[in-house]
Subunit: 363 residues, 2 copies
């Protein structure tokens, strides 16, 4: 999707990919197959690149520092990116900035978890490995200290967080360039099913204007203070008592911004590329009153072709984005965007298409 956005800008990519089957490797012309965890591979790859960016956060921080020491611009740089890689570092930094977060503490064992709960967070407690988790992986919700053994088995640091009593999840997406220009997309509502993003509504319905502004300002502040270059997604909880708390940070185009491909004047992918190259940023405002993104998850049938035909025929306005992935149950294999003036209609069209593609709706 980043390549797609780079084509009209005249920007050409060189891609480091795990396998030739990766989505990006199927469509980019200059592909190197290699392991991003290997510094020699990264150094060979980086030679001749004007700038390096990412579509995930898993490249080891120390390798990125080595590339920078070699004189290769890395955007976002490791000093920013570490806050999206390590939840412990992120929480400590946001605390220092006065950005509201759920109660949290680095814990070493179940006894620490019990103490954390007793000091005000209460059970259930959310436990997260500080590195490597996503889409519900590396996350446990435990109702007691006795249930808290699993997260500590791998011997990696664990962050305990209070389970926030939220009414919904929001996301504030911003993009910042090296010369300090920044743009904020409208705050969206993100609905999760089983720990995986299911639906995003842009803008978030019935969101108090002052709260929306506060969320945008918070994301812009984080981007500036952490020195983010490129796209920053700030996942938020909206609490029952009207506060917003930071859940997670992502420093790359993010699922909560996929709506912008068809719903905003400039998509998150185009603005990420523009920021990474220090080009002036594009207008992030929405083009429609409502845009809805629904993720397409793999279902039981590996062949989506007839469903794909059906969805196109049923809704000629539907925007389908398939990733070229093999279909496996629960795997994100694409998303659909719908937009229009009537939110109920826009939601129904997105959910129908995503459900039909997955196979949970059959008529």
């Amino acid at each position: 999707m980043t390549h797609e956005a780079g084509i009209p800008l005249g920007i050409r990519f060189k891609l480091l990919s795990d396998t030739p089957q990766d989505s990006a490797a199927q469509v980019v012309s200059d592909v190197v197959i290699g392991d991003y965890r290997d510094l020699d591979t990264l150094r060979d790859f980086a030679r001749g690149c004007d700038v390096i960016t990412f579509d995930h956060e898993h490249v080891p921080t120390e390798h990125l520092r080595a590339l920078e020491a070699d004189g290769i611009p890395v955007r976002p740089g490791p000093d920013a990116l570490v806050h999206a890689q390590d939840k412990g570092v992120m929480r400590a930094r946001l605390d220092a900035l006065g950005v509201p977060c759920p109660r949290h503490r680095i814990v070493a064992d179940p006894a620490d978890v019990a103490a954390f709960a007793a000091e005000g967070a209460g059970f259930p407690v959310v436990l997260k490995t500080v590195r490597g988790g996503y889409d519900g992986k590396g996350v446990w919700v435990v109702g007691s200290a006795e249930e808290a053994a699993d997260p500590f088995r791998a011997g990696v640091p664990v962050l305990a967080e209070e389970k926030v009593d939220f009414v919904r999840e929001l996301a504030a997406n911003v993009v910042r360039s090296p010369h300090g220009q920044a743009v904020a997309y409208p705050v969206v509502e993100s609905r999760q099913v089983g720990g995986v993003c299911d639906t995003v509504i842009a803008p978030a319905p019935d969101l108090d204007e002052a709260l929306a502004l506060r969320a945008e300002e918070m994301a812009l502040t984080i981007a500036k203070e952490l020195g983010v270059v490129g796209h920053l997604a700030v996942e938020l909880f909206q609490t029952r008592d009207g506060r917003i708390l930071v859940n997670e940070l992502a420093m790359r185009p993010h699922n909560s911004g996929h709506w912008s491909m068809d719903g905003a004047i400039t998509s998150q992918f185009a603005n990420h590329v523009r920021a990474v190259l220090d080009l002036p940023l594009g207008d992030p405002r929405p083009r429609a009153k409502w845009t809805v993104m629904a993720n397409v998850l793999g279902g039981d049938y590996p062949d989506m072709y007839s469903a794909y035909l059906h969805c196109m025929a049923r809704d000629p306005q539907l925007k389908i984005h398939m990733y070229g992935k093999d279909v496996k149950p629960g795997r994100k294999v694409g998303h659909v965007n719908t937009y229009g003036d009537d939110l109920d209609d826009v939601l129904e069209r997105a959910h129908h298409a995503a459900g039909y593609l997955k196979g949970t709706i059959t008529e």
Copy 2:
């Protein structure tokens, strides 16, 4: 641009390209360098393709027939495409269909031209080689039989046409699929400078609704009767006396449809791909009240980078589409799209950006 439209649909291209520098060859992952005029090259290339389509009309008709005989689907097929390749065949067929065209006749020498003028067309007469012309190349406007020697020097057939007294040029863009579904984009106004398209306004301003409908119906009829599969652009003259006459046909995504990339629900490229693969077509309706496309031509300075920065900074809503071509004076190297509610503003923004990128506007 076709690859860009294919990515979200999950459609992967194999490209036959003259050189690795061609625009498409810079961005598609599977590229074969070869000569489209060589049948063996075409046959080797076509092996394993599900379907063949084009971004120009110059592949020899007889080679396409050979590919079809080999069992490779060619869309549009040679029996349709010949009408976009050979202006003599096109005029004869449109006459048979009763589609209004300028007066015309195949001519063999300057004496034929004089006779054609004397029998009603009058001078000046437009002379065109029946094959291979585009953007003003292969076209002569002659004021007398004495001026008409040049077009006959190459020994190829020449078509004489009356010089139509038109108030403006229009284009009707339609897309048709093998199963017969067809969609019509709004009729646009196309402004030429020096025989090259300069600006397209979608929809054509102040166009009588009945005339617009007639133009769309005409294009749909041509697509159906000629068996076109994919995009068909019908370039039209709107005459001073309120008629519309067919100027040219193009069977591929066309410059007069580039506005649709940012201005329509479904772009001409996405619908061309959908038609060629016999997928249901997307909604061709506009997303904005006005969309303007302005071509970016090369100017005197080969480096457009600082102009490109300026244009992005001046107008964050500007949609830039660069083709990755070396800049040469007069060469189409990209286009810009603007859209909005106020046509004067939308036109000014498009012309400013295109002029600034070319170097004819410097502030």
